[in-house]
Symmetry: C2
Subunit: 105 residues, 2 copies
């Protein structure tokens, strides 16, 4: 085998499955609403909040609170570094899949 | 969007990056030696042991201890359920990559 194993290119902040879900969905739009993330990923509000906080502290997403009419809303948007980190994760996953499908002999 | 998000098909037992590394490498051979896993994945012995135990408790790998001459050795082999779980993880990752490259409009 040559070079590091593909899993060594994975970062737990991004790789954790719920955070990977949040980043992937956030990358598809300018911003996504908290309730949409919650229902799409089937998470409790507390669990989703916790994972968004980890991503926010790492600078990978930004959180904006506001109102839609009278209803308070929380919006999540992916940052530039968030897009970079997600692209790196996806590249590592692609390398892992390629290796799994074509194992070293 | 239709159907559950691809990350909902990920299982933390398999998805955690070091355990994903262990399973991927174990799937490439009949059995792999502890020291080989340790150097390939760049883990401490304690950290690697802990992740192998999680996989063993879930029935995804088997652990055999023996000797190579006088040197004690630990061998790890993937089980049938381990291969099934890894295949499901890889299928979910493939779905995630496909969605990321072709986001829903």
């Amino acid at each position: 085998m040559t070079g590091p194993h593909p899993t060594s290119g994975l970062d737990d902040v991004v790789h954790q499955r719920h955070r990977l879900g949040i980043l992937t969905i956030a990358a598809e739009a300018k911003r996504v609403e908290f309730g949409y993330l919650r229902s799409t990923l089937d998470l409790t509000a507390g669990n989703l909040s916790r994972h968004i906080s980890v991503l926010e502290e790492a600078g990978l997403v930004e959180v904006d609170k506001g109102y839609d009419g009278r209803r308070p809303k929380t919006w999540v948007s992916i940052t530039g570094p968030g897009r970079t980190a997600l692209a790196e994760e996806m590249a590592a996953l692609r390398a892992l899949l390629t290796r799994h499908e074509n194992p070293p002999s």
